[in-house]
Symmetry: C2
Subunit: 423 residues, 2 copies
Amino acid sequence: EKQPCMPTHPQKPLIIKTGVQFSTKVRLLVKLPEVDYQLKMKTTFDKDLPAGRVNRQFFILTNNMKVMDFEESSNGCLTVDFRHLQLKEKKVINGTKGNEGLLSVTEELHTLSFEANFSIQGISIDLETCSLPLVVISNVSQLPGGWASVMWYNLLTNEPRNMGFFGSPPRASWNQLSEALGWQFCTFTGRGLNKEQLNMLGEKLFGQQVSHSDCQVSWSKFCKENILGKPFSFWMWLDSILELIKKHLLPIWNDNYIMGFVSKETERALLKDKEPGTFLLRFSESHLGGITFTWVEHNDNGEAKFISVEPYTKNRLSALPFADIIRNYKVMVDGVVPENPLKFLYPDIPKDEAFGRHYNSQQSKVFPYIPSMLVPMSTLDSALPICSSPEPPMTPGMFDMLNQQLRPFEIETAHIVFDYDIN
Amino acid sequence: EKQPCMPTHPQKPLIIKTGVQFSTKVRLLVKLPEVDYQLKMKTTFDKDLPAGRVNRQFFILTNNMKVMDFEESSNGCLTVDFRHLQLKEKKVINGTKGNEGLLSVTEELHTLSFEANFSIQGISIDLETCSLPLVVISNVSQLPGGWASVMWYNLLTNEPRNMGFFGSPPRASWNQLSEALGWQFCTFTGRGLNKEQLNMLGEKLFGQQVSHSDCQVSWSKFCKENILGKPFSFWMWLDSILELIKKHLLPIWNDNYIMGFVSKETERALLKDKEPGTFLLRFSESHLGGITFTWVEHNDNGEAKFISVEPYTKNRLSALPFADIIRNYKVMVDGVVPENPLKFLYPDIPKDEAFGRHYNSQQSKVFPYIPSMLVPMSTLDSALPICSSPEPPMTPGMFDMLNQQLRPFEIETAHIVFDYDIN
DNA sequence: ACAGTTTCCCGTAAATGC
DNA sequence: TGCATTTACGGGAAACTG
């Protein structure tokens, strides 16, 4: 059951990193009368400085002029394809950096302008357009913040260039935001978020409520303020998971084997009455970019017991892919290794049926050595009981894992005379 | 027993990477009569192009002029400290790149010139000096080749600037080279190579001989030709081990717990009559940058059996430090996990005594999760005998691990009027 | 002192040149 | 085509800077 998840217009990076090449293509959408000379287009960064002083100024380090040419593929439009453009910061020596410390760099919006001039029957005509707002960063560590800005802007305004948007950013309704979040996952992984997953995220932001539809999130709560008791914001947490999926969990995520966003309470309610050894996969809420599994066992008196492993993060996962961790995971009690406690992926899929095709054999046969592999293992002492948090209250409903509703949201592209892409 | 290993003159990097900053300091060794104006020094890359055409041309991208000043610390010498210098390749459009494909980039030697001019009593005086030969690389993957060139040059010539050195590089005697190799290890790790280790390296180059003292190695055999049957040269192999030590084995190497350079034959001779579970650590000869352990067991009929694990390379070691691998290594036979087969580091040091202080506890207690660790494990099927190569012939002598002789070799520094350093 | 931001540069991958 | 070399840039860490 593959989820319908095809963007109508894939979201282009609207984030540019200084010192890293980018390219942009401009198409003239109106047909010009015959112009017998070559039409030159020029691109400028932040040509018209926005009203409020900006924090930083950049310039295009590389050649920013190019002759337009006729593109075969789009019925002879005039186009120009700028390549190998590169941004560098203009160091302002004396000028006081404005902006009064209100905005962070990823809230600062910039724009790329395109200009051309030609004469027709003695009349000089200027053509000009410019891009949607751009975020400029200097290190990939700023990408999550940049994405948050791009999302918020796209979600909450149709204005083509409101450079002061983050001066007083509007709130988003949970309806809007949850759709956008699902869309982010869809775009970057191939699978979005289902109703239950979104519900858990809503609870994270607003607490338990019958419906989050009427809730509103401020920009600050979304991205700038830390989650209560955690050293990171909601978006930083969510984005760390997106990255983890992209790099280490893609096929398993796309096969829908990661429930992921599920509260510990719901997790217990789901596993409570299942076969011993039934487990599910859940993203860590306490640490950035972590995934854990929780399985259910039964005491001698028939009481359900839930055990979660310390979350695996990118470092661990690059040593050993997650499917292999699930395959080979062992618990050692008093020095004895019983079999893998993980038997059935919730609700009742035999482990190997779910993950079998993602196992890496990784047994290299290098004569005359004996092969060696890393086995993920937890060590317990039966004298010490497993520390397990007290039974939490029940939650409203069970997961309906099959019912997933996702609608891609449209990204507005501003073009008057020109049409442009930025890659 | 700490090995004496103090370089009298630490070897400075004489390798410059394009696009990466370097700095150089020049000291005027003669006292000038009073000069009442500021003395400006200029540095130029490859000022006088060598006779034979060079493959590549570079220039100093950054400011290459600086005023000299009096250095307090060295009794008022005039010095200049160039910083943030950066090299860029000059792209030669039309000119045929000379050099006829004879030399690789790391065999191409360059030089940094320093010039100053002043007038005294109406006489104009030019001061000029230049650096020892430099190797220019564009990627760190070329560093091993660069180091080989620097070593060979330093080892075999006292000429201050023989730019054509690698046009017909002289051979090195094993006496010279082995000393240089030990010195490389000493400089970069803190521990050099003992007699037995060097002997093994000599055998690798020359085959088994009573003495290698009279053997000669060509530059090509050292660094350019692949070892018979292997896809890498002698130096590339040795350097990969040097890197492995630097990044993953430093404390264990410096504690002298890694025999490392030992043939499989010698290994067996050493372990043959030792307690079962005695093991030693050896670098892989078949793969770049790998380390393995071999331990001895005894058959029911008392015959010694040697088992080696598939070598660990940097990827594995960054998932799990080598000391922890040794600590936790397990062999699973028919699904049963017996205890760690590694008991005594050759000759008879209890494992934990040798490696105990390098163990990482790595048991993180994160409530409410149960901790998990990676356990290195080999899986065997008792129905299949361990594949073990046939008993090799005995080797001349046992290791004398205590007798280590290392003498640092001196690096010549050319200075006539000036003295310079390159960092 | 410190947090936000940029710079630096290794190391891998991809592109380029020969 | 294959090999040698350079370029590109993510990612961690150090340096910078108000």
